[in-house]
Symmetry: C2
Subunit: 380 residues, 2 copies
């Protein structure tokens, strides 16, 4: 096991084609990580996840800390062994979920006290504790504990969040190290998270301070939290430009295909989002011609595959009519098949992005994706 | 496509080893059919169903008639094409579900009027209509429309149900024929259902009248509806003995492994039951050492496979600890993996039964299964 590393193999404008080296495989970037909140990408077996083309998944520290517990997962050999997912994994810091608890949490300069959404029990995360939890979980990439203010936010709140995020990132690095070897033998690498809301000077101040910590990778946090698409695209692009070229850049929690393409254009390498999995569970499929809502009566006798342009196991076998029946009847298989399709759709998008960067034709792809209808014409 | 047939290849006592020939494959008997109520075995893809060893599944006429509708399924080419299950299928007549509606239905000599459990809309099934619906669905085996009284029942109610069941079976055969070719090319075979509650003379009267109709197969209905295990075993055994040796015998809706073994000992060839799939969705797994309830805290750090004696894809890969986490966290994957395991468990039981009959050692197997604990010792 040779540890974590990143290489950029091609550039096309500011878009980058590269590789993350992890002890659980080489990850071709730009990469999209499906979300497996509770150590499972909802409804998919590890084989099915692999078959979508996914090589790296995300799990949520907050959820796993509460249930089944990080110490329990550590005793069971860490997340990889526990879930049997042998690809790469990333855990978030728990911060975003904790801050999302609203009235159930209280932030101070040392950390966050919160109550469990499951049973109301009291808990506290500090930077050190967030690192201990992630060390126990054992993902290949772990995230520094940060403060993520909801937008819109007052400038002073943004500045205070940057102060804390920087101070906490230092404490995370001091406690965990930039890299750490997990008991199972693989290396865990710490990423810092750039906050700063939509304030360019705060983003710059945060990035500069984190770069001093010389971490193995950097994330752009605090976006897709209430701002406009334009603000999101502009900020992800300008923040990516502040980050060192030899480290991977990860835009957290984003997003729609057009958001991903916009961020890749700005030099981002890594993405995660619940969108493909959550939409699937609600009966919405992503296709090359836009989104289709399977509950729509016009699919009731539609024998075409969900996406005629897709070669996933679902589109090769099942009709829209059958999938619609499953969704309307509330059947598990509807959620499962939708998830397989949507995650495969995202993985194909990422492959197209990587191929386009290698071939020096990313701009054409970006034009196509950027203008791709988000709804099929007939759905409008 | 050569149509439906049955051959008995081995006997051991009254137990029979045989083959159902269908236009969707040869079915080795005794066979267990997983239940796919809404044209899906809940949570499993057709490939996963096949991988359990299942060759024939059951779908429920009542549910599919209501949603998505039998005429719609007919326009989509029938159940096989609609669901993409290319193995054999059986549909029940809808009668059992309709009678289970209680206050929502009213029976007369001509049929049953009922209200949909989905939206309260009024509907009526007659023998002819039940056949039309099943002809549209297109299963390889279809069931005559019968009256199934809940037990305990007064003798006069049992006798009246037998009268109706016989009269309705004749109407079903007159309307559908004993066999019928579906538009997709395959043959559909009609089975009669022997009712008669726990009254031996009524069972005999019903069987005799149905045998006169010379149907391709016969089912034993009206059991597992409130009677004792002893009554169920005695009645299934005595009823099987009344049925012609050259036709398959199907015990409907039964049951636990020991019930299946007891019925095979009496000469039954076919079974269906929601037990393995429903138990799995509630976190209960069937193992060679008895049932285990995954919610039990003692499995929280148990790294053993669900059933060390099982070679299913779940037991080869996942720990009890991970499955327990999925079940406790309400994750879809817990239901899916539990279903794969439980259905495989049943299919292995059926293979053991078939092998034992071929080898002339069914009695030893029956002794072992009959005395197999239904709960693991530590669960008691």
């Amino acid at each position: 096991m040779s540890g974590f590393g990143f290489e950029c193999t091609h550039t096309d404008g500011r878009a980058r084609r590269g590789r993350l080296h992890t002890d659980h495989g080489v990850i071709e970037t730009p990469v999209f990580m499906p979300v497996g909140t509770q150590a499972t990408v909802k409804g998919l077996t590890p084989e099915q996840i692999r078959a979508t083309g996914a090589s790296m998944i995300l799990a949520n520290t907050y959820h796993l800390y509460l249930r089944p517990g990080h110490e329990r997962i550590a005793r069971l050999g860490g997340l990889h062994r526990f879930s049997t997912w042998d690809g790469a994994m990333l855990t978030d810091s728990g911060g975003f979920q904790v801050f999302s608890l609203g009235d159930l949490r209280e932030i101070d300069d040392d950390g966050v006290s919160f109550r469990s959404h499951l049973d109301g029990s009291p808990h506290r995360f500090t930077p050190e504790h967030a690192m201990d939890v992630q060390a126990a979980l054992g993902a290949d990439v772990v995230m520094a504990f940060d403060e993520c203010p909801a937008l819109p936010a007052a400038d002073e709140d943004v500045a205070r969040a940057v102060d804390r995020t920087v101070a906490w990132a230092r404490r995370c690095r001091d406690h965990f190290g930039p890299r750490r070897r997990h008991e199972a033998g693989h290396q865990q690498a710490l990423f810092g998270i750039v906050q700063g809301g939509l304030v360019a000077s705060e983003r710059a101040r945060c990035a500069e301070a984190l770069i001093e910590l010389d971490l193995p990778g950097y994330a752009i946090g605090g976006l897709s939290v209430g701002e406009s698409k334009d603000d999101m695209h502009r900020t992800s692009r300008s923040t990516a430009a502040l980050l060192p070229a030899d480290r991977p850049r990860y835009l957290m929690g984003v997003g729609y295909p057009e958001d991903i393409v916009a961020a890749v254009a700005g030099g981002v390498d890594m993405f995660d989002c619940v969108l493909p999995t959550r939409l699937a569970r609600h009966g919405t499929l992503l296709t090359e011609a836009g989104r289709i809502h399977l509950r729509n009566a016009r699919f009731a006798e539609d024998e075409r595959p969900p996406d005629p342009a897709c070669d996933c196991p679902v589109c090769r076998r099942f009709s829209r009519a059958y999938l619609r029946h499953l969704v309307v009847a509330g059947e598990l298989l509807g959620m499962i098949l939708g998830t397989v399709h949507n995650v495969t759709h995202y993985q194909r998008l990422m492959r197209e992005i990587r191929d386009a960067i290698e071939a020096g034709r990313f701009e054409q792809l970006a034009d196509r994706i950027g203008t791709r209808p988000t709804r099929a014409p007939a759905e409008a």
